[in-house]
Amino acid sequence: MDQGRASERLLTQRKGQKRQSERKGKIIVYTAATITIVATLAVTFFLTQRGLQSFFVSGINPLEFFTSANWNPSGADPSYGALAFIFGSLAVTLLSAIIVAPLGIGTAIFMTEIAPRWGKRILQPVIEILVGIPSVVYGYIGLTVLVPWIRDTFGGSGYSLVAGVVVVSVMILPTVTTLSADSLKSLPDGLRDSSYALGATRWQTIRRVLLPAAIPGLLTAVILGMARAIGEALAIQMVIGNTRIIPDSLLDPAATMTTIITLNMGHTTFGSAENNVLWTLGLLLMVMSYILVLTVRYLASRRKV
């Protein structure tokens, strides 16, 4: 214990020597944060700069890019209409969300409300394993099982929008289920108790009390699933067929923004118009993810319980 007057012990003249370890910790944390922020900003800046070059340097008409489905960047008279891919990405994302939302939320209800012990012991580990399977494996399974099945059952080549949707749905199902279950689990027990104490059945409790209370969390789960779906490239590319036209039906082949980037990035020259449009597609993907993330944040801020 220091002796002497309080003014000597407490006033800040000894700050330098005393705060050495403080400073070290501060430097580590600040460096880590700075690197993360700089990396994020750099990627955003680079993507924006590259992505906009198609319009400002290569002179591609933005209207054409967004509204025409005529994609022929390497032809004699090149055209850069990306609508088919934008449509493909949105179709895959929305359709898989529509399929996965009821399945994922239903499974989450089963895990948390109907069979919590069984759900915790068996279902949860299984789902966590599914999250960890790399997307190329999903694509491979889709390619060897799903595509031939579609070909034999419905005709056509089998490579189709619906194949992409199914593969992506299976991929994002575990994400949506886990996040939905978390959101249901985080509801206060008082809510369940009070509903049961009012003579509600289990189904009434789930439908009228728990689901409404969990809605912001459930929407977040579905949107994060969509964010994963829109960014997925490899697995979709293996089963969707990769054509340059807007599909007429679910059984027609299609393409998404991500599949076009991965297919073409290898054989275009950096700085060429053909290369720049790929960056524009990348920029568009980033903007879409940002919108999804902002939506999630908005929903999270509205969460009341």
């Binding site: 509903s195 104490a197 009012l198 003579g199 509600a200 009228r208 409404p212 009341k304």
Partner: protein, 271 residues
Amino acid sequence: MQAVLERELVEQQWTQEQQEVDLCLDVTDLSIFYGPKQAVKNVSMPIKRHSITALIGPSGCGKSTFLRSINRMNDGIKGFKAEGNILYDDVNLLDANIDPVALRKEIGMVFQRPNPFPNSILKNVTLPLKEHGLKSKAKREEYAETYLKQVGLWDEVKDRLHESALSLSGGQQQRLCIARTLAIQPSVLLLDEPASALDPIATAKIEELLLKLKEKYTIVLVTHNLQQAARVADDTAFFYQGEIVEFSDTKTFFQSPKEKRSEDYISGRFG
């Protein structure tokens, strides 16, 4: 001689009263187990209709467990087992054939922490009505007004019925929870420390409300607050380590307890 006669007379009156008493719930030899642990031991307690029965005792003495077994809220707990009788009208509530959903419509419960649904104030009261089959929306809202008035909340919330119930203060939320419970038209109200999370003014309002409600409902109240029991209860049961140490009318209990342990507890020497 005179004294003996007087005592006999008093005892006679007492037995007569005892026979005339209209019991709402008659608990006999109730034992409750959680796995190997016995939480409630051979408890017997007559609960009079249209009265307030207070259960007091230190934490973990089994009073909440006792309360929650009346409307079968313990059913889902692993290892839970109850023996004995809780006679309600002509049926034992511990009977395996009792439908807990139907039971809880007759025996309502209010919890320690106010737990309104994260909906609007109005919907908190109309939702149970809707789920119990009241189809007309106008009717539901009419009933909601009645029950909100009954708990003295109507004047405070009538202009903001569509705001979130979570925007209310703790005391208001608790009264809303009581209104919500009244909406299912129970005959018994079980209250598990309904005022322990509230400030003194909100507590006073709840107590006032309980005294008003006992004209229509039979109330069983678990409380940590001895003064509260003394103020509102007709009968008081003192639980200790799963047993009832003493059960008598509140006045006798607080003024001349028969048991030493009751006296110690009331005077704050343990618990």
